[in-house]
C-alpha cells in the first residue's frame, strides 16, 4: 500500500509509530515475568507450614480431674493452652470489671462457652511477643489482677485472661474449641 510507513529496519509502522515488533517485546517480557513469578512462588511457599504441621490441628483434653481454682497446661500446635477451672470469686471479679475501660474490651461470657462459664480456655501465649505467662502452675505469680503475669516484659492479665497492664496489645487468645462432653473438650 502506498500509505504504509516503514522503519529503517523494514518493519511496518502503525499510524502512531508503533511496530508490531514492539508488541512482541511486551508480550515476551510479560511471559518471562509470569514464568519467573511461577518459579519464585514455590520457593517462597515451601516455607509455609507443611502438611504434617497442619495435620496437628486438633487435640482432645480431659478436664475431669481439674478442680476449681486449678489450671492445666497442654501443648497444641506447639503452643501452650491454659484450661482454668475458675472459682466463683474469680468469675465475680471478672464480671465486676467495667468492660469499656479495658484495652481489649470483652466480657467473661464472650470468652467462655455458654453453660461452661467456669472454664476459661486460652492460649498460654502472651500477645506481646509470645512468651508463656506465669499463673497456670501451682504457686506461680499471678500478677496484679489475679490472672496471669508475663515475666518477659511485665504484662498483667486478669481472671478472665484480659490484658490489664504492660505492653501486650490484646487479651490472651481464646482458641476455637467445643465441649464434647461436660468434662472434655476438643481444641482446634
Amino acid at each position: 500500500m502506498a500509505s504504509e510507513t516503514r522503519a529503517p529496519s523494514g518493519d511496518v509502522l502503525a499510524p502512531d509509530g508503533e511496530r508490531r515488533r514492539d508488541f512482541l517485546y511486551v508480550a515476551t517480557g510479560a511471559v518471562a515475568a509470569a514464568g519467573a513469578a511461577a518459579v519464585v512462588w514455590p520457593l517462597i511457599n515451601q516455607m509455609n507450614p507443611s502438611a504434617d504441621v497442619l495435620a496437628l490441628a486438633s487435640i482432645d483434653l480431659d478436664l475431669s480431674a481439674v478442680q476449681e481454682g486449678q489450671a492445666v497446661k497442654v501443648s497444641w500446635r506447639g503452643k501452650p493452652v491454659f484450661a482454668r477451672h475458675l472459682t466463683s470469686a474469680e468469675v465475680e471479679m471478672a464480671n465486676k470489671v467495667d468492660v469499656k475501660s479495658l484495652r481489649d474490651p470483652q466480657t467473661l461470657a464472650e470468652r467462655t462457652k455458654p453453660g461452661n462459664e467456669k472454664w476459661l480456655i486460652t492460649l498460654g501465649v502472651c500477645t506481646h511477643l509470645g512468651c508463656v505467662p506465669l499463673g497456670a502452675g501451682e504457686g506461680e505469680v499471678r500478677g496484679d489482677f489475679g490472672g496471669y503475669f508475663c515475666p518477659c516484659h511485665g504484662s498483667h492479665y486478669d481472671t478472665a485472661a484480659r490484658v490489664r497492664k504492660g505492653p501486650a496489645p490484646k487479651n490472651l487468645e481464646v482458641p476455637a474449641y467445643v465441649f464434647k462432653t461436660p468434662t472434655s473438650v476438643t481444641i482446634g
Partner: protein, 430 residues
Amino acid sequence: MSFPWANEYKPTNPLMQWVDSRLPLPRFVYNAVGAGYPVPRNLNYMWNFGILAGFALVLQIVTGVVLAMHYAANDKVAFDSVEHIMRDVNWGWMLRYAHANGASMFFIVVYTHIFRGFFYSSYKAPREMIWLLGVVIFLLMMATAFMGYVLPWGQMSFWGAKVITGLFSAIPLVGPPLQEWLLGGFAPDNAALNRFFSLHFLLPFVILGVIIMHVWALHIPGSSNPTGVEVKTESDTVPFHPYYTAKDGFGLGIFLMLYCALVFFAPNLLGHPDNYIPANPLSTPAHIVPEWYFWPFYAILRAFTSDFMFIPAKLMGVLAMFSAILVWFFLPWLDTSPVRSGHYRPLFRKFFYLLVVDVLVLGYCGGAPAAEPYVMISQIASMYYFLHFLVILPVVSSIETPQPLPFSITEAVLGKDESAALSPAKPAIA
C-alpha cells in the same frame, strides 16, 4: 583505582609472569592489599578493625563449617548433638567455644569499626557507598548471629526464635502470616530449626560477597584517615604491604590474645546459662534476654510501653528498633559538615562521646530486667539516640566552627612542610 605513584606489579618469577598474563589474579591481589595499594601514612590503631572483622568472618566460616559436620538440625537431637560435639568430637569443645565466642569478638570488632566511622565521619563523600554496604553487612550479621544462636535448641534459643519472629507479627495485616511463614508452623519447631540451619550456613557467604563490594568501594577513593584530609602527594602515603600488613598483623596478635583468653578461660562469660537447658515450649525463662550484642537494640524495643495514637506499643517498639539501624543509612546526608574528622570538630566531638555513653547505657538496660528504673532509663536513652542522629547531628554540623585543618597528611604527621617534610632527614641518634 589507585594513586598515580602506586607501585606497578612486575613479577620476576616466571610462573607468576605466566599466570599474570593469562589470569591477572596475582596483580589483583598486589593492587588490592599488596605493595601496589598506597594508604595514608597516619592511620592509627582504629583502622585495624576492618581487617579484624574480615578475620573474624573467616574464623566463623571455618569453625562453622566444621561444627556443621557434627551438628544435627533436628529438634529431637539438636541439643544432644551439641553436647556430643562438646564431649565426643575431637577438640569439639574448643571448636564450639571458638565459634560462640567468635561471634562476640566479631561484634566487638564491628562495633568499634562502626564507631570509628562515626567519629571520623568515614561515611562522608566520596565514601557513602562503603558506609551503606557496611550497614547492610551489619544487618546480615545480626540475622546470621540470631539464627546461629537458635541452633543449640536451648531455652534461650527457642524463646529467642519465638520473640524475634514475633517482631514480624507486629506488622499490620501481613504480620501473623509472615511469622508463620518464617517459622513454618505456629511456634518454633523442627521446621524452624531446620531452615535456620540452612540460612545460617548461607548468610555468611552472602556477607562475604557484600564485604568484597565493601572493599571494592573502599579502593575507589582509598582509605580515609584520622585528619579527614584527602591524600595529596606521595609523601602522604605508604604502600599497604609491608607497612600496614605488619601493623594489622600486630593488631591481629592482640585480638587473638584477647580471643584466646575468652575461649580458654571464660568461654561462658558472655553467654546465657539458660541456654544449657533444653528448649521447653511450655515454659519461658523468667529473665529472657538476647545475646549482649543485641542489648542496645533490645532496650529500644522495650522502651515503648504505651500506645501512640493508632500505633500499638508493640509495633512502635519494633519500628523503633529497626529504625535505630536504618537511620544509619541516612547518616551521610544528616551530617552536612564539610569537615570529616572529629579531631577538628569540638562540638561534634562532645556529642559523639555522649552517643557512646548513651549506647552503653542502652546496652546495660537491654541486659537488665524489664522493670523500673531500667524501663524509664531506656526510654530516655532511646529518645536521645534518635535525637542525636535526627536533630543534634544536622544542627551541630550547620552551627559549628571547625578548628583549622592541617594542609596535608604529611604536615599532620611531620609538622610544617618547610620545617620538617622538606628538610633533610635528621639522623636517628644525634
